[in-house]
């Protein structure tokens, strides 16, 4: 591989991920399903274990050592996340279960107060269900409109369609992914934010996929809301993040009611805590939040420059290698794209591809990837998808290609 990667040694990285030593059906595991959820480095596993073995209690107002220390460690992650995405303040970081909850939180609270019936939300054709269904539910409950921005055949935002969708001035929120979990396309979120803001709309960015591969700066993007999940970022499950601009969060009513999110409670009436606590009802995912902190430290320690360079080479290699296999059809050809590659294969159903690759130890995903309407848009019923993490090697992509050739033989 090229010079840029010299300081980034993937074999060293792989040592940090214990699971990569596993065998599957007697073959070394080739894990090409990181877009669904990434594997966890030792640092994350150890951080979670440490909490449970040495420093655990419920957080906030504990007044005893274990609670103070756990609260400090928990709240330190809020600072870490704020720094990681360059939020203006730690108070703009709300902890959720996952990106799905982050987006639903916005739909339930901001959506039901800042939007009026007749206002519209616009999403693109390539959204994950997590960034489509909540807006359908909002529409049905609250009378807002939902509009779909077309994408090009290459899998990029169609700016003509964007203009049209915004033409009547009713769109008050643009909710859009920063990277498609199917096509691998990045979207020009800075430009989209500017576009939305110029038309008096807010922008919510679904950063689930992008944040794993690129340095994200919510202020540079101009994001009003930004959502992502810990488990795709090499962190634990059960923890996600919603970033929201302070003035937006401050105006929003709470989502769920319970402990932590209150100011004062009487039997008659309650007042709410300030953001971010207003949106964090009940005992938070303490262990997982601390695990997310370790994941962020780990990723920053490697650095997005190195990660992006490595993944870029992988992606180029994969596009070239798979593109060379006769009968394999890669879905999506955006200019700016990352290491998520969907494809179909003549004579082989995506599910058969996945199972047959699995027999060879290779893990890919198959189906609609929680983006069912996009399948129709791209003219397929489903795809197989290989997706890369920082630990993926070119040799694993070669193994995939070899596996596909074998499948071709089987079904020939």
């Amino acid at each position: 591989m090229s010079a840029t990667l010299r300081s980034f040694d993937v074999t060293v990285i792989r040592e940090d991920f214990p699971i990569l030593k596993q065998q599957v059906h007697g073959k070394p595991l080739v894990f090409l399903d990181s877009a669904a959820s990434a594997q966890k480095p030792r640092a994350v596993i150890d951080a979670m274990r440490h909490v449970m073995e040495a420093q655990y209690a419920n957080v906030h107002r504990g007044l005893h050592y274990m609670s103070e220390k756990t609260s400090d460690a928990f709240e330190a992650v809020r600072d870490k996340v704020a720094a990681f995405i360059n939020a203006a303040s730690r108070d703009e970081i709300v902890f959720t279960r996952n990106a799905t909850e982050s987006i639903n939180l916005v739909a339930y609270t901001w959506g039901r107060t800042a939007l009026r019936p007749g206002d519209a939300v616009a999403v693109s054709e390539m959204e994950h269900h997590a960034n489509l269904v909540p807006w359908q539910m909002l529409r049905d409950a609250h009378g807002t409109d939902l509009r779909i921005i077309k994408i090009t055949d290459a899998g990029e935002i169609d700016f003509d369609s964007l203009e049209q969708v915004f033409a009547d001035g009713k769109v008050k929120l643009l909710a859009v992914t920063q990277m498609s979990n199917v096509l691998g396309s990045y979207t020009p979120v800075e430009r989209l934010a500017k576009f939305a803001h110029e038309r008096g709309a807010k922008i919510l960015v679904d950063g689930c996929q992008a944040i794993v591969h690129r340095h994200v700066d919510v202020q540079a993007i101009g994001a009003d809301f930004y959502a992502f999940s810990g488990h795709k970022l090499y962190g634990p499950t059960g923890i996600g993040v919603l970033y929201g601009k302070r003035e937006l969060l401050e105006a929003m009513p709470p989502f769920m009611g319970g402990g932590e999110m209150i100011g004062h409670v009487t039997y008659e009436k309650s007042t709410w805590a300030k953001p971010p606590f207003r949106f964090e009802a009940g005992t938070p995912a303490i262990i997982e939040t601390i695990g997310l902190g370790a994941a962020i430290d780990y990723v920053r320690g490697i650095g997005f420059e190195a990660i992006a360079a490595h993944e870029h080479e992988l992606t180029e290699h994969a596009l070239a290698t798979l593109g060379n296999i006769e009968g394999v059809n890669i879905i999506g050809h955006a200019q700016d794209r990352g290491g998520v590659i969907s494809f179909t294969m003549r004579h082989a159903h995506p599910h058969d591809i996945a199972t047959l690759l699995d027999r060879q130890g290779i893990a890919v995903r198959a189906g609609h990837h929680c983006a069912e309407p996009l399948m129709g848009r791209m003219g397929v019923t489903g795809t197989a998808r290989a997706s890369f993490g920082m630990y993926t090697t070119p040799e694993e992509i070669d193994a995939l290609a070899k596996g596909l050739l074998r499948i071709k033989q089987v079904f020939a």
């Binding site: 082989a348 058969d352 199972t355």
Partner: protein
């Protein structure tokens, strides 16, 4: 653990013996998996329990439908119900059962619980057809 894509499965997927819509039939039934969009339509001629089908989906689905048509031919509705139960047991345990004949080729699916539905879909469609007879 046995291979879920034994030669018989690939063979029947590529060269099915019972595929296609017959000109005449007494009942029909459909099975669809909303998760993957796969579908199978079963046509039943009562005489001799003669089954044909049209499948749109993966190799497991079409091979399973084809092997099912083999297995049920000439059986009574009760025998078919028993076969269907035995087949489900095969799919969940992976333990072959001589009574199942060629259907045993699908034993390897036991390791792929999310694929089991592909194999049972033709049986739900057949159950529907039998119900309508």
């Amino acid at each position: 653990m046995s291979d879920p894509y034994q030669a018989l499965i690939v063979e029947r997927h590529k060269h099915p013996l019972h595929a296609g819509r017959p000109a005449q039939f007494d009942a029909e039934g459909e099975g669809a998996n909303p998760i993957c969009g796969d579908k199978v339509h079963v046509y039943l001629r009562r005489a001799g329990m003669d089954v044909h089908y049209e499948a749109q989906g993966c190799a497991i689905l079409s091979a399973s439908a084809d092997l099912m048509a083999d297995a049920v031919a000439g059986k009574t509705a009760e025998q078919i119900a028993q076969l269907s139960r035995d087949f489900e047991t095969l799919l969940t345990t992976g333990r072959e059962n001589p009574a199942l004949g060629g259907l045993n080729a699908l034993a390897g699916l036991a390791a792929y619980s999310s694929r089991i539905r592909c194999a049972t879909l033709p049986w739900s469609a057949l159950a529907e057809a039998l119900h309508h007879v």
